[in-house]
Symmetry: C4
Subunit: 222 residues, 4 copies
């Protein structure tokens, strides 16, 4: 059983899963994880729908032991000591953008947060093996998000709340980009400008405000 | 009245109808059936909306007796002894893809399950006669799904749960394909690769996990 | 006050308004009417959202007296003695199709019901005057539906239930046509074939089945 | 605390925020304001989701004191003595249209209200400074709406109810325009005709009718 000092984190974990489901980022398949305080384990969820996982289902696993769907998360924590939470999902606009060979590029204020670029892993299929997970983690590099062709995306951040918002922003940005591509020649926001906007827009207080909004929304949806 | 030993199957039948309705695969018109244990009959539903059919409305019918909307189901059970359940529906993206002369081709992990290909029946109108139903069953061949121009689709599988998920995956794949076609040149997944992904992705445990998700979702929607 | 012998019709009237609202065919503006039994009046609704009109708001008006938004309805009842109910609405796909100069042409089984063709009134603006209403009624001719550029549509039929379903089918057909146009070259269903399908598909029992479905759906939506 | 004589206005303020949220015009970020009766202050909301702001959170601020997100509102009240309410939001179709360099042009009856034209502010980023807010207010000129590239829009009017409806109509018009652009060559409504339609369509009684509809809808959504 998980130490009661993790109760707040477990509460955020479950709330994030419900938000993800409520906002259409997942059907029965998506995985969230968060690094333990001492840093060498991750709190993880069983092979179950994000809409159905409960607090008592959560468990810790280290970065070597294979449990179902864990390898991408483990590979990222090992490659990126700065990362505290990882969210892997299969949302519709992200998948759509990926199958025409595009990834998200900043076009509006929310998308600016991905100013470092979002690499695209073009090999089809699932994560399948620790070796492939390692390739994905390597391709992610220092970015906040990686897209996987015909499969989905992974986002990384400093907390469960942050990766939850990054997931929502990535999907929304992908949706905007697909729509704008159909309409004509989208005007992208150039590198330096995107970074400047991101630093104004994606601050801890904004993450908290967005979290409060989506948490209340999912709580009210019964 | 149906033998109580079929109670579990009747429960799945009604749950599947509610899922189908809840997920937008049907309005008032869609038909599900499941083969009886001894194999020479099918459990069927009356001419009523999938949102409204109740357990006591279900009945068995053999493969020769004509009851409303039964002929396509009967033709398939006769042509495909391996098939245990059949679901026929008229969902928006499937119809859309069909009227521009396309059928679903694998492009993402969920679509890979249709790696055998999805034939398109191009004659317009409804099923209309046992003769036409026979043509459709023949065109289906060994595939899991058949699309009907300007009309809808039929999917076949090993259980009610499986055809329910196949219906959801076919509609989602059709939606993705229509969107990707508008965006540019979609990258399809090639034959062998698609089959390999399907065998990893569409396993009984995945069907159960997706079923649990959608069943809970429709139960909570009141 | 309306004679109690009209209680059933009033109940259908209110249910139809709620369905129309629930299915996204109206926001605050849409008008339904039904011909009186003796034929020279229509039951009508006040200038109020279809989501909010109540049974006691309904009233009869003859075909000459001007009440707000009545003129198009009155002009049609005068020009078309066969028509028993009229529904005028402003739904998104119908408006969209109209502003690119198209009207609904049969492409799938539900759209086949409009096999006589759907004329397009190209003058912009609202109904505005009995004279303009007369032009619209004339353009409608013997058809079941008329589209109004940048404005909406009107459908006519034998009962409230029928025009409610015709409204839903017109909007769905318009949506399909806009989507198919974006995708490539849609395959339309040719005249004779469309009429044949319509006669199979749009029978009183189908209208009842669809009505039961949508009525139950709106009742459950609270 | 705000004087009880403002109770009605506070009630409209909160209802408008809930409508905005319910109709998809905002996620956690959007700001509404209304001018005080004596004209030299505005009632404003804290940095909180429109879905979560409560009546007791509202406060008055003059047009010089900087509070978070206030500068665009203040700049407009100073530049436009006729304006009584301002609504700034980030809705999907408005953002989409802006990133391909278009703004809303009348194409249907609801869009006609923007017959004066909708300028587009092309500098990316947020409002950021009173200087930039001043530029935006200047570009707005005498119009009812201004679009901000990759960011959102601002609408101005005579009351909270009016700006709430203008926000809904702007988003709906933007959605229609993006869809029509994808379909072919949209037929726009020419200047004089648009103004004529606007004067028939966008009257105080229509605003009230639409407000009653959306207010009831959000109240019922729990």
């Amino acid at each position: 059983m998980i130490d009661p000092s993790y109760d707040d984190i477990k509460r955020d974990f479950i709330t994030a899963l419900r938000i993800i489901y409520r906002e259409g980022l997942s059907d029965a398949f998506a995985h969230l994880s968060v690094r333990s305080r001492d840093g060498d384990e991750m709190m993880f969820m069983p092979r179950k729908s994000p809409a159905l996982v409960e607090s008592e289902d959560l468990f810790f696993v280290d970065f070597e032991k294979a449990v179902p769907q864990s390898s991408l998360h483990q590979a990222i924590y090992k490659a990126r000591p700065d990362v505290k939470a990882v969210f892997h999902f299969h949302s519709p606009a992200v998948i759509l953008l990926s199958v025409v060979g595009q990834t998200v590029r900043p076009m509006h204020n929310y998308g600016a947060v991905f100013y470092e670029g979002v690499p695209l892993y073009t090999v089809t299929g699932q994560v399948e093996s620790p070796a492939r997970a390692g390739e994905m983690a390597k391709l992610l590099g220092d970015a906040k998000a990686l897209m996987l062709r015909g499969h989905g995306a992974v986002v990384v951040g400093q907390s469960i709340r942050e990766v939850c918002m990054l997931g929502l922003f990535l999907e929304e940005s992908a949706r905007l980009q697909t729509e704008a591509t159909k309409l004509g020649t989208p005007m992208f926001i150039e590198g330096n400008e995107a970074e400047k906007i991101a630093k104004r827009t994606f601050k801890p207080t904004s993450v908290e405000r967005a979290w409060d909004h989506f948490a209340a929304k999912q709580a009210n949806s019964g």
